[in-house]
Amino acid sequence: MPSAVLEAEGLTKRYGGVEALRGANFQVFAGEVVALIGDNGAGKSTLVKCLSGAEQPDGGRILLDGQVVRMTSPIEARRLGVETVYQDLAVAPDLDPAANLFLGRELFRHGIAGRLGMLDRKAMKSQAAEHFARLGVVLPRADVPIGTLSGGQRQTVAVARSVMWASKVVFMDEPTAALGVVQRERVLDVIRRVRDQGIAVVLISHNMPEVLSVADRIEVLRLGKRVARLASDATLEQLVGAMTGALNTEDDAA
């Protein structure tokens, strides 16, 4: 069995008196979409924060490609190839899509102009166009501030940005929560394309139909521990059962 790209072993995390994670396990493999689901308070966001560098776990190990890692910040995590797309549209509304794509990693012109800090807009625009095409991101206009585009279009750009830079794992935290049906489909399409590029995608969602439609595997978290691992042919009853504790297919030992 191929080893997981990102794996959590027995993570524990405490916030004051609250134990958010009590020995949580998690795995995601390359080229798959794993949905991480669980009821409110199950520890999903804490788990994601620990795995993406926003928080540090109190105990347990995180393995990236089989090696133990400590990700001290999201920037550090990004450096290791772990990216996150947040629910609140984390794009700069006044910049155009290409500018958002390259935010923080702009291309400079050659020669002295570049050394002075001048940007190579043409190159960024054309590379952005290629990248969008590869991922099926469709925009009516690309030279306008991204804020004028619909929420779905903005989110597809955010997703595209997360995989622009040779990532290994992308976390998508409720990426379609704020979107309408049609826009949601568009974003899910792009997520599928991302998976097809060989990247490991972790999808956190409350939307069961969406989970069943796009996920290859589903991992269920409850009370800070993994309680079930299900395949994409799971039923809604199984999902809900696992979330509420009626179904528990995991061992208690890690």
Partner: protein, 341 residues
């Protein structure tokens, strides 16, 4: 399964990027004002003298407004610019007097003048740095921070001078920067303002520094998550504004031949008005240097036109306020259209 299409993303020309539609409209307003006053007072308004004095009298404010543009694009504000200008003029002129025999700087040479310039700019930069650190590191709202430095800079200037303006300014400085002209009649003050404007436009519209300025004003959290050093960038923006206010202080010194401590009380609001009329949004993320230039000249042209036409002085602030409110209203309408889901 969606079909992959090749999307060419058309490159907007530099002109389009720099101008943009709202800038066009205020440009039209400026042209109409100029034309209107020329028709109303054809013997007095459309003359070279009026144009020259208009440019000279707006140069110092323009230099302040370039810095203010950057600050407002980051959705900040800087109320201290007028007093930092005064402080810079004070430390510059005091230095020149101190270096001159008998404390009389009237006959100071270029070396002393150069030192005075450096001290002025550094003096402005000092306040810019204070502003930037308090805003970016201590996370105090810019309105409060710069309100504080507004008072503190003036207080410092009054402490240093005892409230009395400098009496001796180098003649060489006054005759060159203050009243000299280049290239057959373009005043040195205007040349300096033009160079600052061009630099500001280059920095804002072609460099990464400019793009980060827009990004931080548009969504500081997104910028931070993208790895942009938001704190460092904000400090640099306020520092730049302070340095420009320092330069403006030196220009003011050259032009008036004294420090004018009692004045410049409304420079901050004039600069903000100019920047906002020019299409920069107070909420951050949008704005152009061309817009600022036009926005700074609209009140100037209005005031000068009113003086020449003999309109009672009280109409002038009313007229300027109408233009300002109209500009903000237009920006709001634009934003509403933009933010439709």
């Amino acid at each position: 399964m969606s079909v992959a299409e090749t999307i060419e993303i058309p490159e907007r020309t530099r002109w389009q990027r720099i101008s943009g539609v709202s800038t066009l409209w205020i440009g039209v307003v400026l042209v109409l004002l100029y034309a209107g006053f020329s028709i109303w007072k054809p013997n007095a308004f459309p003359t070279r003298f009026t144009l020259q004095t208009l440019l000279i009298e707006t140069s110092v404010l323009l230099v302040l407004s370039i810095g203010m543009t950057f600050v407002i694009i980051t959705s900040g504000i800087d109320l201290s610019v007028g007093m930092v200008l005064i402080f810079a003029g004070v430390v510059g002129s005091k230095t020149m007097e101190w270096l001159s025999p008998g404390g009389d700087a009237s006959h100071a040479g270029w070396g002393i003048i150069a030192i005075g310039l450096v001290v002025s700019i550094a003096g402005g930069g000092l306040w810019g740095l204070i502003n930037g650190v308090l805003v970016a590191r201590a996370k105090i709202p810019p309105l409060i921070v710069t309100l504080g430095s507004f008072g503190a800079a003036l207080g410092a200037a009054q402490l240093i001078t005892g409230g009395v303006d400098t009496r001796t300014v180098p003649d060489n400085l006054r005759n060159s920067l203050g009243f000299g002209t280049l290239l057959g009649g373009v005043p040195d003050l205007v040349v300096v303002a033009l160079v600052v404007t061009l630099f500001g436009a280059w920095l804002l519209h072609t460099t990464r520094f400019g793009r980060y300025t827009y990004a931080i004003g548009s969504n500081a959290e997104a910028a931070r998550r993208s790895g942009i050093g938001v704190t460092r960038h904000l400090i640099l923006v306020y520092l730049m504004t302070g340095l420009l206010a320092g330069l403006a202080g030196f220009m003011n010194l050259a032009y008036f031949g004294t420090t004018t401590i009692a004045g410049h009380g409304t420079d901050n609001l004039d600069a903000i008005a100019g920047v906002v009329i020019g299409g920069t949004s107070l909420f951050g993320g949008a704005g152009t240097v061309v817009g600022t230039v036009i926005g700074v000249f609209i009140p100037s042209v209005l005031r000068k036109g009113f003086v020449i036409a003999g309109v009672p002085v009280f109409w002038q602030p009313i007229a300027v306020s109408i233009v300002l409110v109209a500009a903000v209203w237009f920006d709001q309408a634009r934003r509403k259209a933009r933010d439709r889901k």
